[in-house]
């Protein structure tokens, strides 16, 4: 089943300058009781967005109307902890297409890519620049170009290259789906199984 194709994205960003954001913060366990993939966005960062009386915490960036856009920026080691793909579903459902950090946890990176979210890993220095630009002007725009694998600060024209493996890049650009691909390989997989049996 083809997924949505990823095009160049130009947007302002929502900054969360906190390190080691784990998937329990992105979506707390008590919200994992659904049997579908929909509707997780409303509980994204639930315990940071609402206080213990269920009132919105005004100083949290997602509740601050100054910060809008489809890019989420976070400090290093984003997405560590639980493997729950619900974290990626919540981020996508909320409307983000790109997450920028100087370091991502492995499982989260896979989960994001499998849901059409682009994890953009950049240097500590560039990340700091981005946070600074947002602090100066919350409407600062960033341009994420998957073709050239670059992220640019629109106002200053400074940009940085980011890595992504070629297979995943092709999948995102063309909206290919991994599972369709693997199904097409079933014969090859069966042959692998038979070979293994023989050599055992």
């Amino acid at each position: 089943m083809p997924t949505e194709k990823f095009n160049t994205i130009e947007s302002s960003a929502v900054p969360i300058n906190i390190e080691n954001i784990d998937t329990d913060q992105i979506i707390p366990a008590r919200f994992l009781k659904s049997t579908s993939k929909e509707g997780f966005g409303k509980n994204l960062f639930r315990d940071w967005r609402y206080d213990n009386k269920n009132q919105p915490s005004n100083d949290f960036p997602l509740n601050d109307s100054k910060f809008l856009g489809t890019i989420l920026i976070a400090a290093k080691n984003f997405g560590c902890g639980s493997s729950r793909e619900h974290a990626a579903w919540a981020i996508a459902d909320y409307g983000f297409r790109v997450v920028v950090s100087s370091f991502f946890a492995d499982i989260f990176k896979n989960n994001a890519l499998n849901n059409g979210i682009l994890p953009v890993q950049i240097s500590e220095a560039f990340l700091e620049k981005m946070f600074n630009e947002i602090e100066k002007d919350t409407t600062t725009k960033f341009v994420v170009d998957l073709h050239t694998q670059t992220i640019k600060i629109a106002s200053t024209d400074e940009s940085e290259f980011f890595e992504i493996n070629k297979y995943k890049k092709d999948c995102l650009l063309n909206g290919y789906d991994d599972i369709d691909y693997l199904i097409s390989k079933r014969y090859e997989i069966e042959a692998f199984e038979n070979n293994r049996e023989l050599s055992n």
Binding site: M1, N17, I18, E19, N20, D22, D24, Q25, P28, A29, R30, L32, K33, S34, T35, S36, K37, D47, N52, A75, K76, N77, C80, G81, S82, S83, R84, E85, A88, F103, F104, A105, D106, I107, N110, N111, N114, N115, E124, N165, K166, Y167, K168, D178, I179, Y181, L182, I183, K185, R186, E188, I189, F192, E193
Partner: protein
């Protein structure tokens, strides 16, 4: 150049290497549970395909289930629906399922090894990050997301880039009162919760070689807390002895034949790792965590670092974390009042962990401020504990002994730690709110948890042995 143990297992399972892309990696066994699997089953249904190899999948209900009155229907509606959905999906697709109350039910990473599903040389995945636990048997085992569960349903394979390799050596004798939980918390305090990101870790050295399988599982379990894709330990006679006679392990002559093959599962002497660290067992004391990630740990007698000892860039996160915990830089935690204690989880919910607790609480009573429950990792652990009379020891100490499940490790069921309360927990994560909104987790070993139960304040188990 020689190969590492990890390379050997990985390479044997590569169906195809996609150019400039991931490997198509064949998976010998997939474990599933009620929380991360339903959407993958829906995916299969929408694609109108069958599950490719249902025999290689094993299911259990664990994350969401109550730990009391398991014979009654689950009260909480959403939890009940998830548990029922798993059962229906398994029936429909002919997948072996150990539901609530089944004699083989338990936490997914406890029952796999216990029943002999987990065997050296295998590739294993589960939609749960602590799949790394199975690495203790010399397997390449790692947690995956729901999309990957669906990949395995569809093709018995996942698409994975090959991780880099790290070896962590631990040498020497562990002091009395120091357990494998302390070893991994110590390593975490040295390498941080992102120190292993991008790597698969082999644990080696004379300390590891002497550990029981249960203790090895605790270490591999928390390798994910280092950010690693997984951790593994070369199988040896201790491994083979553990496996022998288990229900799904090879039996009789087959077993002897298989052992010969398993003996080749070790890192070649001339193999090279991308990173290597070596620690001395003598330097390790009983450990506790003071912050909101498992890398923020220290010896139970130490003080939290002063602000001056923290890197400039990490200061804000450090202070935020201490603020959540209600601790101050430089503070000593031993002697601090904590009211809740949880013993259980796939990290420390095995019979040896329960025995460790019993060793300290036997003939004593928990302090009056303490609310404590012990949750066995599986029905088999529960039966064994009763057989050994551990349940009586707990009862005499005024400690609740529950029925198996993940329980307060992630607090998806009713077993939540109240807002603002400290909990000394033998689980693996001290993230904000992990054990319930506003709960404050201090990770420790079963021995430290037991000593704290008796003292009523954070205690050093060496004072109680």
């Amino acid at each position: 150049m020689g190969k590492t143990l990890f390379d050997k297992i990985w390479d044997q399972h590569v169906v195809t290497q996609i150019e400039e892309g991931p490997s198509i990696l064949y998976i010998d066994r997939q474990f599933i549970h009620e929380v991360t699997s339903p959407q993958a089953f829906t995916g299969i249904k929408n694609r109108k395909i069958d599950i490719f190899r249902p025999d290689q999948i094993t299911a259990t209900a664990d994350h969401n289930i109550p730990t009391i009155n398991q014979h009654l229907p689950i009260k909480e509606e959403l939890s009940r629906i998830q548990v029922e959905t798993l059962q229906k999906n398994c029936e429909k697709h002919n997948i072996t399922h150990y539901g609530v109350g089944h004699e083989s039910n338990g936490i997914v990473h406890i029952i796999g090894p216990e029943m002999g599903y987990t065997l050296p040389g295998m590739t294993i995945v589960c939609g749960d990050s602590h799949t790394s636990t199975h690495g203790a048997f010399g397997t390449v085992a790692f947690g995956v997301g729901t999309s990957e569960i669906e990949m395995v349903f569809a093709s018995q394979c996942v698409l994975q880039p090959k991780p880099k390799k790290m070896r962590i050596n631990i040498n020497g004798e562990l002091e009395k009162g120091v357990s494998s939980k302390d070893v991994i918390l110590y390593v975490l305090s040295k390498l941080s919760s992102s120190g292993g990101t991008g790597y698969f870790i082999e644990f080696a050295g004379t300390t590891i070689e002497k550990l029981t399988m249960e203790a090895r599982m605790t270490i591999c379990n928390m390798s994910i807390e280092l950010g690693a894709r997984g951790g593994l330990i070369a199988p040896d006679q201790i491994t083979f002895n553990y496996i022998k006679g288990r229900k799904f392990a090879p039996q009789g002559k087959d077993f002897d034949k298989t052992i010969a093959k398993w003996k080749a599962l070790k890192t070649d002497v001339d193999a090279v790792f991308d990173a290597e660290f070596t620690y001395n067992a003598n330097d390790i004391a009983p450990m506790i965590t003071y912050g909101t990630n498992p890398g923020m740990g220290m010896s139970v007698t130490d003080s939290i670092p002063d602000l001056s000892e923290v890197n400039e860039s990490a200061k804000a996160s450090f202070l935020k974390s201490l603020d959540y915990m209600g601790f101050k830089p430089g503070e000593k935690l031993k002697g601090k009042q904590t009211n809740y204690i949880f013993v259980g989880s796939c990290t420390n919910g095995r019979i040896e962990d329960l025995r460790a607790v019993a060793k300290i609480v036997k003939g004593r009573k928990k302090a009056s401020n303490i609310k404590m429950y012990i949750v066995p990792g599986s029905k088999a652990v529960e039966r064994q504990a009763v057989e050994e009379g551990l349940d009586k020891i707990f009862k005499e100490a005024d400690i609740q002994f529950r029925q198996p499940g993940c329980s307060s490790c992630l607090a998806m069921n009713e077993d939540k730690i109240p807002n603002g309360e400290y909990c000394v927990s033998t689980s693996n994560r001290n993230f904000e709110g992990r054990q319930g909104p506003g709960s404050k987790t201090i990770l420790a070993s079963p021995l430290t948890a037991a000593a704290t139960a008796i003292a009523g304040t954070l205690a050093d188990p060496r004072d109680y042995l």
